[in-house]
């Protein structure tokens, strides 16, 4: 009987030890979904200067500078500029001005200067340069005073 109890106890102990030694693993699944996103951060506004013949007021002229915008996107968006509709001109300027906004990009997406929409398919970050040029034709000239124009840069 003693021998039986000893043998039974030992067998039970071995069985318990065996149970304790069984290790299990379980996977924990993480899911994440990112939809198309676009962030525009305006770093600097642009500056326009007038040409010697007073027929061009542009960020391309000597002393002028483009506005700079940092763009970050997942891709699957497009970048464009709108025609300029909001301008302020001096009272002395009574002649028509043609405003031409353009942009270019360096970084993940290299875009040569354009005024048309560009599809950004790849994810990444860019520095977008925004330029604006105002031109007058014929004998018309820019007048002295303050000019202001708003360029809309769109990411959609």
């Amino acid at each position: 009987m003693t021998l039986f109890r000893t043998a039974f106890g030992a067998a039970l102990l071995v069985a318990c030890l065996d149970q304790a030694a069984l290790a299990t693993t379980q996977n924990v699944i993480f899911n994440g979904t990112i939809t198309a996103t676009c962030t525009l951060v305006i770093a600097t506004n642009g500056t326009m200067t007038v040409s010697p013949d007073l027929q061009s007021l542009s960020s391309h002229n000597s002393g002028g500078s483009a506005g700079t915008v940092t763009l970050t996107t997942t891709g699957g968006v497009s970048l464009s500029v709108d025609p300029v509709t909001t301008t302020t001109v001096p009272a002395a300027d009574t002649t028509a001005t043609t405003w031409t906004p353009t942009y270019s990009s360096s970084g993940t997406h290299t875009i040569a200067e354009t005024g048309s929409a560009t599809s950004l398919t790849a994810p990444g970050a860019d520095v977008v340069s925004v330029n604006l040029a105002g031109t007058k034709g014929g004998s018309n000239r820019f007048a002295s005073g303050n000019y202001q124009a708003t360029v809309t840069l769109r990411c959609e």
Partner: protein, 130 residues
């Protein structure tokens, strides 16, 4: 019950920044089914700058013509690195479906010679179910 409310509030507070942080507007795409004469979309404009900015929300159709939608709020100040929900209710106008753009617009640095207006537009598609 009280614990459930506290947990729900904590979850809501925790989820809002995840949905909107570091984006100018999210989501930028969406499709909505509605059984009424209008469909509603909630967007989260965000301010990525370290300064307060004025934000305007506009709704346009596919040709960038303004849509008579109800926007709450349409114009507001947004603190640095902050975001907030905006509810947009777009009427179908008798149509069975409607595509609209919801745009977040801001001029973060006004009173400059050449201002840049940043415009982030999302495209949304509403289907009217009968």
């Amino acid at each position: 019950m009280k614990h459930a409310r506290i947990l729900a509030a904590a979850l809501a507070v925790g989820l809002i920044p995840i949905a909107a942080a570091a984006q100018s507007m999210s989501p930028m795409r969406g499709e909505v089914n509605s059984f009424t004469d209008a469909f509603a979309i909630r967007v989260f404009p965000a301010n990525p700058y370290d300064q307060k900015i004025k934000v305007e929300i506009h709704v346009y159709d596919q040709d960038f013509q303004p849509v008579d939608a109800r926007i709450s709020p349409a114009v507001f100040q947004l603190g640095a690195q902050a975001s907030r929900p905006v509810l947009v209710v777009v009427p179908f106008g008798g149509a069975a479906e409607r595509k609209v753009r919801i745009c977040t617009e801001s001029i973060p640095f006004p009173n400059q010679q050449t201002q840049i207006k940043a415009q982030i537009c999302g495209k949304f598609f509403g289907h009217r179910k009968s």
